[in-house]
Protein backbone atom coordinates (compact mmCIF):
# COMPACT_ATOMS: atom_id res chain seq x y z
CA UNK A 1 0.00 0.00 0.00
CA UNK A 2 2.79 2.38 -0.96
CA UNK A 3 0.29 4.86 -2.36
CA UNK A 4 -1.47 5.24 0.97
CA UNK A 5 1.66 5.91 3.01
CA UNK A 6 3.02 8.25 0.35
CA UNK A 7 -0.15 10.18 0.59
CA UNK A 8 0.46 10.93 4.26
CA UNK A 9 3.62 12.87 3.34
CA UNK A 10 1.79 15.25 1.05
CA UNK A 11 1.19 18.78 2.30
CA UNK A 12 -2.57 18.70 1.78
CA UNK A 13 -4.97 15.93 2.49
CA UNK A 14 -8.71 16.07 3.01
CA UNK A 15 -9.96 15.06 6.46
CA UNK A 16 -11.39 11.75 5.25
CA UNK A 17 -7.90 10.54 4.30
CA UNK A 18 -6.25 11.81 7.49
CA UNK A 19 -6.21 8.43 9.26
CA UNK A 20 -4.86 5.24 7.76
CA UNK A 21 -8.16 3.56 8.55
CA UNK A 22 -10.04 6.26 6.63
CA UNK A 23 -7.79 5.90 3.56
CA UNK A 24 -8.07 2.12 3.59
CA UNK A 25 -11.84 2.17 3.98
CA UNK A 26 -12.16 4.53 1.02
CA UNK A 27 -9.93 2.24 -1.04
CA UNK A 28 -12.00 -0.73 0.12
CA UNK A 29 -15.12 1.03 -1.12
CA UNK A 30 -13.55 1.45 -4.54
CA UNK A 31 -13.05 -2.34 -4.56
CA UNK A 32 -16.74 -2.78 -3.73
CA UNK A 33 -17.67 -0.48 -6.61
CA UNK A 34 -15.52 -2.54 -9.00
CA UNK A 35 -17.31 -5.72 -7.85
CA UNK A 36 -20.74 -4.08 -8.08
CA UNK A 37 -19.89 -3.04 -11.62
CA UNK A 38 -19.35 -6.71 -12.52
CA UNK A 39 -22.70 -7.60 -10.93
CA UNK A 40 -24.44 -5.05 -13.13
CA UNK A 41 -22.46 -6.28 -16.16
CA UNK A 42 -24.04 -9.74 -15.71
CA UNK A 43 -27.51 -8.21 -15.57
CA UNK A 44 -26.77 -6.03 -18.61
CA UNK A 45 -25.53 -9.07 -20.56
CA UNK A 46 -28.71 -10.99 -19.66
CA UNK A 47 -30.93 -8.09 -20.66
CA UNK A 48 -29.19 -7.51 -24.00
CA UNK A 49 -29.48 -11.24 -24.71
CA UNK A 50 -33.26 -11.22 -24.26
CA UNK A 51 -34.04 -7.81 -25.74
CA UNK A 52 -36.06 -9.33 -28.62
CA UNK A 53 -37.51 -12.25 -26.67
CA UNK A 54 -40.87 -10.56 -26.08
CA UNK A 55 -42.96 -13.79 -26.29
CA UNK A 56 -45.83 -11.90 -27.94
CA UNK A 57 -45.85 -9.28 -25.15
CA UNK A 58 -45.06 -5.59 -25.56
CA UNK A 59 -41.63 -4.64 -26.98
CA UNK A 60 -39.23 -1.97 -25.80
CA UNK A 61 -40.41 0.46 -28.50
CA UNK A 62 -43.99 0.22 -27.26
CA UNK A 63 -43.11 0.54 -23.59
CA UNK A 64 -40.43 3.22 -23.20
CA UNK A 65 -41.60 6.84 -23.03
CA UNK A 66 -38.86 9.36 -23.93
CA UNK A 67 -40.25 12.02 -21.58
CA UNK A 68 -40.41 9.66 -18.59
CA UNK A 69 -36.90 8.28 -18.81
CA UNK A 70 -35.42 11.69 -19.63
CA UNK A 71 -36.96 13.11 -16.43
CA UNK A 72 -35.41 10.22 -14.46
CA UNK A 73 -32.04 10.74 -16.15
CA UNK A 74 -31.85 14.50 -15.60
CA UNK A 75 -33.10 14.08 -12.03
CA UNK A 76 -30.33 11.58 -11.25
CA UNK A 77 -27.65 13.69 -13.00
CA UNK A 78 -28.60 16.73 -10.94
CA UNK A 79 -28.62 14.65 -7.75
CA UNK A 80 -25.09 13.46 -8.55
CA UNK A 81 -24.10 17.13 -8.89
CA UNK A 82 -25.70 18.14 -5.57
CA UNK A 83 -24.04 15.16 -3.88
CA UNK A 84 -20.69 16.40 -5.25
CA UNK A 85 -21.45 19.80 -3.71
CA UNK A 86 -22.13 18.08 -0.36
CA UNK A 87 -18.63 16.53 -0.44
CA UNK A 88 -17.18 19.92 -1.39
CA UNK A 89 -18.90 21.70 1.51
CA UNK A 90 -17.82 18.90 3.86
CA UNK A 91 -14.21 19.59 2.83
CA UNK A 92 -14.76 23.28 3.47
CA UNK A 93 -15.95 22.35 6.97
CA UNK A 94 -19.49 23.70 6.53
CA UNK A 95 -21.68 21.29 8.42
CA UNK A 96 -24.98 23.04 7.64
CA UNK A 97 -24.28 23.34 3.90
CA UNK A 98 -23.17 19.69 3.76
CA UNK A 99 -26.40 18.55 5.40
CA UNK A 100 -28.46 20.85 3.17
CA UNK A 101 -26.94 19.46 -0.06
CA UNK A 102 -27.32 15.89 1.23
CA UNK A 103 -31.01 16.59 1.89
CA UNK A 104 -31.42 18.01 -1.64
CA UNK A 105 -29.72 14.87 -3.01
CA UNK A 106 -31.98 12.68 -0.92
CA UNK A 107 -35.11 14.45 -2.17
CA UNK A 108 -33.95 14.09 -5.79
CA UNK A 109 -33.33 10.40 -5.06
CA UNK A 110 -36.87 10.04 -3.73
CA UNK A 111 -38.25 11.81 -6.82
CA UNK A 112 -36.29 9.35 -8.98
CA UNK A 113 -37.69 6.36 -7.09
CA UNK A 114 -41.17 7.89 -7.36
CA UNK A 115 -40.89 8.14 -11.15
CA UNK A 116 -39.52 4.62 -11.37
CA UNK A 117 -42.38 3.21 -9.30
CA UNK A 118 -44.81 5.13 -11.51
CA UNK A 119 -43.11 3.71 -14.62
CA UNK A 120 -43.16 0.13 -13.29
CA UNK A 121 -46.77 0.24 -12.10
CA UNK A 122 -47.81 1.82 -15.41
CA UNK A 123 -46.12 -1.00 -17.30
CA UNK A 124 -47.73 -3.66 -15.12
CA UNK A 125 -51.16 -2.08 -15.71
CA UNK A 126 -50.54 -2.29 -19.45
CA UNK A 127 -49.96 -6.01 -18.97
CA UNK A 128 -46.17 -5.88 -19.07
CA UNK A 129 -45.27 -7.80 -15.92
CA UNK A 130 -42.23 -9.67 -14.63
CA UNK A 131 -43.75 -12.92 -15.94
CA UNK A 132 -44.77 -11.70 -19.41
CA UNK A 133 -41.56 -12.40 -21.30
CA UNK A 134 -37.83 -12.99 -20.95
CA UNK A 135 -37.33 -9.40 -22.14
CA UNK A 136 -39.48 -8.00 -19.32
CA UNK A 137 -38.05 -10.31 -16.65
CA UNK A 138 -34.51 -9.17 -17.41
CA UNK A 139 -35.67 -5.55 -17.78
CA UNK A 140 -37.33 -5.46 -14.36
CA UNK A 141 -34.42 -7.26 -12.70
CA UNK A 142 -31.80 -4.94 -14.22
CA UNK A 143 -33.62 -1.63 -13.70
CA UNK A 144 -35.04 -2.87 -10.38
CA UNK A 145 -31.58 -3.75 -9.04
CA UNK A 146 -30.47 -0.20 -9.79
CA UNK A 147 -33.62 1.18 -8.13
CA UNK A 148 -32.91 -1.05 -5.13
CA UNK A 149 -29.39 0.40 -4.90
CA UNK A 150 -30.82 3.92 -5.00
CA UNK A 151 -33.35 3.06 -2.27
CA UNK A 152 -30.61 1.65 -0.05
CA UNK A 153 -28.57 4.78 -0.79
CA UNK A 154 -31.46 6.96 0.41
CA UNK A 155 -31.74 5.07 3.73
CA UNK A 156 -27.95 5.13 4.13
CA UNK A 157 -27.85 8.87 3.44
CA UNK A 158 -30.51 9.47 6.10
CA UNK A 159 -28.23 7.76 8.67
CA UNK A 160 -25.22 9.83 7.55
CA UNK A 161 -27.24 13.05 7.85
CA UNK A 162 -28.27 12.05 11.40
CA UNK A 163 -24.63 11.35 12.33
CA UNK A 164 -23.45 14.63 10.82
CA UNK A 165 -26.14 16.55 12.71
CA UNK A 166 -25.20 14.99 16.07
CA UNK A 167 -21.40 14.57 15.74
CA UNK A 168 -20.41 17.32 13.34
CA UNK A 169 -17.61 16.97 10.78
CA UNK A 170 -14.70 14.87 12.03
CA UNK A 171 -12.34 12.34 10.41
CA UNK A 172 -14.97 9.62 10.77
CA UNK A 173 -18.07 11.43 9.53
CA UNK A 174 -16.03 13.07 6.74
CA UNK A 175 -15.03 9.62 5.50
CA UNK A 176 -18.68 8.50 5.66
CA UNK A 177 -19.88 11.51 3.67
CA UNK A 178 -17.17 10.91 1.09
CA UNK A 179 -18.07 7.22 0.72
CA UNK A 180 -21.83 7.80 0.36
CA UNK A 181 -20.84 10.37 -2.28
CA UNK A 182 -18.82 7.74 -4.15
CA UNK A 183 -21.77 5.35 -3.97
CA UNK A 184 -24.20 7.94 -5.27
CA UNK A 185 -22.00 9.00 -8.20
CA UNK A 186 -21.45 5.33 -9.02
CA UNK A 187 -25.23 4.80 -9.22
CA UNK A 188 -25.37 7.70 -11.65
CA UNK A 189 -22.68 6.03 -13.78
CA UNK A 190 -24.73 2.79 -13.79
CA UNK A 191 -27.82 4.79 -14.79
CA UNK A 192 -25.92 6.37 -17.70
CA UNK A 193 -25.37 2.86 -19.04
CA UNK A 194 -28.98 1.87 -18.29
CA UNK A 195 -30.17 4.96 -20.12
CA UNK A 196 -27.94 4.07 -23.07
CA UNK A 197 -28.21 0.28 -23.24
CA UNK A 198 -31.83 -0.09 -22.16
CA UNK A 199 -33.84 3.02 -22.96
CA UNK A 200 -32.06 4.59 -25.96
CA UNK A 201 -31.13 1.23 -27.50
CA UNK A 202 -34.74 0.14 -26.91
CA UNK A 203 -35.87 2.96 -29.20
CA UNK A 204 -33.38 2.03 -31.92
CA UNK A 205 -33.49 -1.77 -32.11
Amino acid sequence: MAAVTNHNNKPYEPLEYSTEEGSLRIFGFWLFLAADMVLFACLFATYLMYIHHTAGGPSSKELFEVKDFMIETVDLLVSSFTCGLATLEMRRGNKKATIAWLIVTLILGLVFIGFEVKEFTGMVQEGATLQTSAFLTSFFILVGTHGCHVSIGILWMLCIIAQLATRGINAQTARKVFIIGLYWHFLDVIWIFLFTAVYLTGLVL
Binding site: M1, A3, V4, H7, K10, P11, Y12, P14, Y17, S23, I26, F27, W30, L31, L33, A34, A35, M37, V38, F40, A41, C42, F44, A45, T46, L48, M49, V66, M70, T73, V74, L77, V78, S80, F81, C83, G84, L85, T87, L88, R91, R92, F178, G181, L182, H185, F186, D188, V189, I192, F193, F195, T196, A197, L200, T201, L203, V204, L205
Partner: protein, 104 residues
Protein backbone atom coordinates in the same frame (compact mmCIF):
# COMPACT_ATOMS: atom_id res chain seq x y z
CA UNK B 1 2.54 16.29 -7.63
CA UNK B 2 2.35 18.22 -4.39
CA UNK B 3 1.96 21.47 -6.33
CA UNK B 4 -0.96 20.05 -8.19
CA UNK B 5 -2.49 19.08 -4.88
CA UNK B 6 -2.11 22.46 -3.23
CA UNK B 7 -3.73 24.10 -6.25
CA UNK B 8 -6.64 21.68 -6.11
CA UNK B 9 -6.80 22.47 -2.42
CA UNK B 10 -6.98 26.23 -2.99
CA UNK B 11 -9.75 26.03 -5.58
CA UNK B 12 -11.63 23.58 -3.39
CA UNK B 13 -11.68 25.84 -0.37
CA UNK B 14 -12.77 29.12 -1.85
CA UNK B 15 -14.92 30.38 -4.64
CA UNK B 16 -17.41 28.99 -7.05
CA UNK B 17 -17.42 25.19 -7.61
CA UNK B 18 -16.55 25.42 -11.31
CA UNK B 19 -15.37 21.83 -11.55
CA UNK B 20 -18.75 20.54 -10.40
CA UNK B 21 -20.77 22.89 -12.61
CA UNK B 22 -18.66 21.93 -15.65
CA UNK B 23 -19.19 18.27 -14.74
CA UNK B 24 -22.97 18.76 -14.61
CA UNK B 25 -23.09 20.74 -17.87
CA UNK B 26 -20.93 18.14 -19.67
CA UNK B 27 -23.16 15.32 -18.35
CA UNK B 28 -26.30 17.09 -19.56
CA UNK B 29 -24.77 17.84 -22.97
CA UNK B 30 -23.66 14.22 -23.41
CA UNK B 31 -27.06 12.90 -22.30
CA UNK B 32 -29.03 15.09 -24.69
CA UNK B 33 -26.52 14.46 -27.50
CA UNK B 34 -27.20 10.72 -27.10
CA UNK B 35 -30.97 11.29 -27.14
CA UNK B 36 -30.59 13.52 -30.21
CA UNK B 37 -28.60 10.81 -32.03
CA UNK B 38 -31.39 8.33 -31.39
CA UNK B 39 -34.36 10.54 -32.26
CA UNK B 40 -33.01 12.61 -35.15
CA UNK B 41 -30.99 10.27 -37.37
CA UNK B 42 -31.94 7.34 -39.54
CA UNK B 43 -28.51 5.71 -39.60
CA UNK B 44 -28.10 1.97 -39.10
CA UNK B 45 -28.86 0.81 -35.53
CA UNK B 46 -25.29 -0.52 -35.20
CA UNK B 47 -23.80 2.94 -35.88
CA UNK B 48 -26.21 4.75 -33.55
CA UNK B 49 -25.63 2.23 -30.72
CA UNK B 50 -21.85 2.56 -31.15
CA UNK B 51 -22.04 6.36 -30.93
CA UNK B 52 -24.30 6.41 -27.84
CA UNK B 53 -22.12 3.81 -26.06
CA UNK B 54 -19.07 6.02 -26.69
CA UNK B 55 -21.01 9.02 -25.30
CA UNK B 56 -21.90 6.96 -22.20
CA UNK B 57 -18.27 5.96 -21.62
CA UNK B 58 -17.17 9.61 -21.93
CA UNK B 59 -19.83 10.56 -19.40
CA UNK B 60 -18.65 7.84 -17.00
CA UNK B 61 -15.18 9.43 -17.17
CA UNK B 62 -16.70 12.85 -16.44
CA UNK B 63 -18.25 11.39 -13.26
CA UNK B 64 -15.05 9.60 -12.22
CA UNK B 65 -12.81 12.64 -12.61
CA UNK B 66 -15.12 15.58 -11.88
CA UNK B 67 -17.15 14.13 -9.00
CA UNK B 68 -15.59 10.94 -7.67
CA UNK B 69 -12.04 12.23 -7.05
CA UNK B 70 -10.56 9.02 -8.43
CA UNK B 71 -7.09 10.65 -8.60
CA UNK B 72 -6.94 11.17 -4.83
CA UNK B 73 -6.10 8.75 -2.02
CA UNK B 74 -4.57 5.45 -3.14
CA UNK B 75 -4.75 6.72 -6.72
CA UNK B 76 -2.94 3.90 -8.54
CA UNK B 77 -4.79 1.14 -6.68
CA UNK B 78 -8.18 2.75 -7.19
CA UNK B 79 -7.66 3.20 -10.90
CA UNK B 80 -6.34 -0.37 -11.17
CA UNK B 81 -9.39 -1.76 -9.32
CA UNK B 82 -11.91 0.20 -11.37
CA UNK B 83 -10.01 -0.53 -14.59
CA UNK B 84 -9.99 -4.25 -13.82
CA UNK B 85 -13.69 -4.17 -12.91
CA UNK B 86 -14.45 -2.38 -16.18
CA UNK B 87 -12.38 -4.95 -18.10
CA UNK B 88 -14.32 -7.86 -16.56
CA UNK B 89 -17.62 -6.04 -17.13
CA UNK B 90 -16.68 -5.50 -20.78
CA UNK B 91 -15.69 -9.18 -21.20
CA UNK B 92 -18.97 -10.35 -19.65
CA UNK B 93 -21.18 -8.12 -21.81
CA UNK B 94 -19.24 -8.23 -25.08
CA UNK B 95 -18.41 -11.93 -24.70
CA UNK B 96 -22.04 -12.86 -24.00
CA UNK B 97 -23.33 -10.90 -26.98
CA UNK B 98 -20.61 -12.22 -29.22
CA UNK B 99 -21.28 -15.87 -28.40
CA UNK B 100 -25.05 -15.83 -27.93
CA UNK B 101 -26.31 -13.32 -30.49
CA UNK B 102 -23.82 -13.56 -33.30
CA UNK B 103 -23.37 -17.32 -32.76
CA UNK B 104 -19.74 -17.28 -33.82
Amino acid sequence: MSNEHTQAHASEHTGFPWKHVIGLVLSLILTFAALWCVTSFAFSPALIVTVIVILAVVQAFVQLFMFMHITEGSKVWQITAIGFGAFIAFCVVAGTLWIMLFAL
